[in-house]
Each structure stands twice: as C-alpha cells, then as structure tokens.
Symmetry: C2
Subunit: 337 residues, 2 copies
Amino acid sequence: MRNNNRQWILKKRPVGKISNDDLELIETNIPEPGEGQALIQNIYLSIDPTNRIWMSDIDQYMPPVDIGHVMRGGCTAKVIKSNTPELLEGQYISSFTCGWQDFAIVTPSETSPLPEERKLPLTAYMSAAGFTGYTAYFGLLNITNPKPGETVVVSTAAGAVGSVVGQIAKIKGCRVIGITGSDKKCEWIKSLGFDETINYKTQNVLKELSKKCPEGIDIYFDNTGGEILDAVLTLINQNARISVCGLISMYNEDKPVPGPYMYRNILMKRARVEGFIVSDFMSEWENAAAQLAIWIDEGKIQYKVDVQQGLENALSTVNMLFTGENEGKLILQVSDE
Amino acid sequence: MRNNNRQWILKKRPVGKISNDDLELIETNIPEPGEGQALIQNIYLSIDPTNRIWMSDIDQYMPPVDIGHVMRGGCTAKVIKSNTPELLEGQYISSFTCGWQDFAIVTPSETSPLPEERKLPLTAYMSAAGFTGYTAYFGLLNITNPKPGETVVVSTAAGAVGSVVGQIAKIKGCRVIGITGSDKKCEWIKSLGFDETINYKTQNVLKELSKKCPEGIDIYFDNTGGEILDAVLTLINQNARISVCGLISMYNEDKPVPGPYMYRNILMKRARVEGFIVSDFMSEWENAAAQLAIWIDEGKIQYKVDVQQGLENALSTVNMLFTGENEGKLILQVSDE
C-alpha cells in the first residue's frame, strides 16, 4: 500500500478544454478516520462528462467543486480502516465523495455497498450494472416510454450510456439508429443489434437520418446537444419525446451557446423535451439493477469498459471523453483490486 | 347583403413582417353551395399569430396555405343558404375553413355550431369561451399541472390566451407574474389578479423576474420564445414545466433563429418543455367550455376583445399582433351580426 495520498486539486475553472494548469496533483498524508468514519482506498475512478461540469461554476444540479478542493468523482473503493460498524474492513463500496485521490475518509451514508457475491467483474458495477446502466434505463424507459415499432435515435451511441440505451430500445421492440464518431464504433454498436448507424465525423447527420428514419423520429436520447440535436429536431414526428441526458457538445464552451435552431419544432410537432439525472430515480435503482443484471446475464445487454491506468493520468483521461477516443465506459484504475 | 365576394389571396410567402404585396384582395362571385354543403357569411375573423405561420412554408402543424389560395382563418359565421339538414339557415357556427373572405362554402364536418341560447356575446365564443380560452385551459392545466403556491410566469400576459392562463393559475392558487408590452396592459392584468407584472419594453426582464420570483419559477407558459424564454430558463426551479404555446418572437424571422442560450438548464434543472396545440385536446373541449363558462359567469375570468372593422383591413390588423398594439383578443368584423 502507498504511504502517502495523492490528490488532484482544482486550481482554477477551465476555459474550454481542461488544461494542465487547471488542476494540480499534490502529495499529502493518508488521513485518519474519526469516530463513525472509514478510510477507503480508491480502486477505480469513474471518468464522466459530468466531471467537466463540476469544474465549472455554471448553474448545475450539484454544487460545483470549490477552488482549492479535491476534484469530485465517482469511484469503486475498498474499506481499509473503519471506525463504524456499517463499513467493514475489506468491503467494496461505491461512492461519489471519494474524489480524485488515492485515499478518502467517508461516512456510511456517502457509500453504497457492492453485492457481496458478485457475478460480474468489479468494473461492470461502474458501467452497465451501475450508474451508466441506470441512466440509460430511466432516461429511456421513464422519460420517453418507448413503444414497439417506434424509431429511436441515440447520440454518443457507443458510449457507456448510449450503448445500453440502444440495447434496451431493441429489447422494447423499437427501430434504433445510433450516432457515433468512428467506423469502428459503428461496427461495434451494429454488433449489439442497432439497426442503423451514422458516423457523425464522416457523414452528414441530417442527410443520413433522413434516409435511415423514413418514418421520422419518435424518440431521441440526447447526450450531445448541438448540431445533432438540430438534425433530429428537423425530423421528429408528432408527439416525439426527447430525453436530455447530456449536452457534451456544450460543456467545453466558454461563451453562451445558442440552443437548437429548430427549437420551434417542439411547438410544431408538439414534442416533449425533458431533462433528468439518474439520482431523480434513486427509489427505483434496486429494480433497475435487478433488471439490468438479468439482461446482462442473458446476453441481451453487452458492455465495454475502457480502463486507463494511473491517478497521475486523470487529466488526459477525462479529456478523452471530448475527443471520443475512449471505447466504452471510461474508468481510471488507481490501485489493484 | 353584399352582391360579391371579396377574398384575400396569398400571392407570395412573407419575408419578415407581412407586406402589402404578399396578399391581394380580389373580388369574385358569391359561390353556390352544392349538395351537402352550405353557404356561410363571415361575421368575425379570428386574427391570430398562427395566421403568420400558415403564410410561411416552414414545417408546421397544419399544411401551409398554398400560393394563389384564400388565406386561412378561424371565424364566426352565419349560415345563409344550406343544402344539408345539419346546417340550418340563420344558424351561427364557428369554423377554421371559412378563410379571409366575405362568403365561404362549408360542409357540416368543418363547422362547430355555437350554443343556441347564448349567455355571452358572440365575440366571447371567439375568445375566453372559445379557442383561446381552451388553449389557456389545456396548455396550463394539462401540460404543466400547477400546484398551489407554485410560481407561474406567463408571456404575452395581456393577450387573449395569456390573460386567461394567468386567471386560471390564480384560481389554482399559484403566484402569477405576467410579462407584457405596455404599462396600460400591466395595469389591466394587475386588475385581473396577477400578483406581479413586467413591461418587457421598458424593463429588464431577467432583472425583474429575479426580483419578482424570489423562490424561482416553477411553470412558464410561453407564447414568445426568444429573450424572455432565455430569462425564464435562467431562473427555473428543479422540475420546472414549460408549456410551449407560441413562439411569436420567431415567426417573422426570415433566417434560422437560435434556440434559447440557456437550453442547458433543461438538463441542469431536469425541466420538461412541451409543445401543444389546442386541437390535441378536442375530446375534452366540451368539459373545458363548460368550466370556462362557469368561471366567466362567476367573474373569475374576465376577458377583453379588440374588434377591428373591415375585411379590407386584414393585413394591418394581423400585423398589430407583432407590434403588440391590440388589447385583448384581436377580431376583425367583416359583416353585421
């Protein structure tokens, strides 16, 4: 075990892409847990687009990370030392408060235990059987209520959320078109059962969507915003539903970004656009977890994890999300399992 | 009775504001009804923002008016001659197919009879007890589900729809802020029971909304889009609902208009934005009509009509909607009752 604690400290708010000056990796002592607390060692950090939001001070669904504080992040960790009967040494937990560091002090209410008998690898609980799986599940099923035969479009379709959204939509009998950023990713989601794919980097999205959605678009699961959203809005059917899960095309912008030029189609097509975050459905997580585990077991949902190595590589890893280099759920391993 | 029929013909699609070259007033013979048809004489034309949409060929919820055809419009009319037992001579009807002309041929399915015993003046059935009343009713109650104590913002609040929206929101126990374009209109909606008013022509909407909505905005009934929508999005609460009834700030634009710069708050606040048109609720119109009539009778809903005169003045009348000159529901009287 390490004999010190490395921490990524937010030094200033990034403008545009995250740069090396925005955060600093410092070394400090391993903290001691107080009464009712435990010391955990991070194993995997979940690297997500929302990390970029937390670094900025725009109005958002959680408080931004304060300047001078440890960067926030989801993680899977092991309890090292415990002063509370609710957390047992050697136990595996997941948490959002552990942060980008080697060790953290947590209280039981800040943690969720992982199942003791795990059928799936630890990284599955950070992807299709964890938060990104829940996000796909609730964002598709609860927000858009897909019906058999409807046309569903998914952006960042090879991503941790998008790939599961498409597979659940197929389970529900929909026609699914996935938009992603490389031919290789297109091939992969095709192998998952997506009916059609579009490579937004080499193809004209509006033109391809027109061809591939001859009956229009009923449901759009939006991870991007921007031009893809505009192309979709151009082609939506009456009473279309748009689930707003992410707006990754906007997060790196340092000036106000206009909303979709086809916004008026929300009126013209009597569409519904609804934002959500996975924590809104916390009371139903257990059901989702059970259903997702069954689908994964049955092979109906496949997933990919992209495990990068080393806490020191956190910045280059998070920036992979914005260039689309990662393949599957991006995870940073910071210690052995 | 006139011995000819004047008709406003759409000659070309307006670019920006409707100009005198876009439509032409021609004179023609009074048509003869065929079997199963009736001849009606228009009394009142309903002048609405949607007239401007129908003149353009953007993707919309009804087909645009074809070039060379009579301009479409809602009306109240009297049956003059009938070749169908379903329409009686002397009967008053409302219809969307009568158009901007003195006379029209209609079939029974294109008309709705007005109540035979009318408690309210004829113009009421073109405003608070008619389509604009229904629009307010469904757009507020069915789309946003207001709860007592919530903060509701209404744009074009002195308009035919907005003024009724605000009054229904008050009936439902909400706090209501109305945005309109003159101090006189502000005074009028204040007299209707609106808690606060904002004159968007002389006041900074974002600043005033911040002051007048100290607990944020739960519901926005949007008739305008544009900068007011952006100001509202800046201040929405978690789980806010936005009912998109109209986007009048966009209709006169001849180039693509960006959507709201604060679009991202749909995600950050997990808001729901939903477009609707009144015809989506046709099966519930009767209930709405009965409830609105009760509220009008009880004095809980007041309304204003702005009756302009003369079919020849249709163009200057419709343009009043875009300068905000009208006070209350804009109606053009084209013959005596």
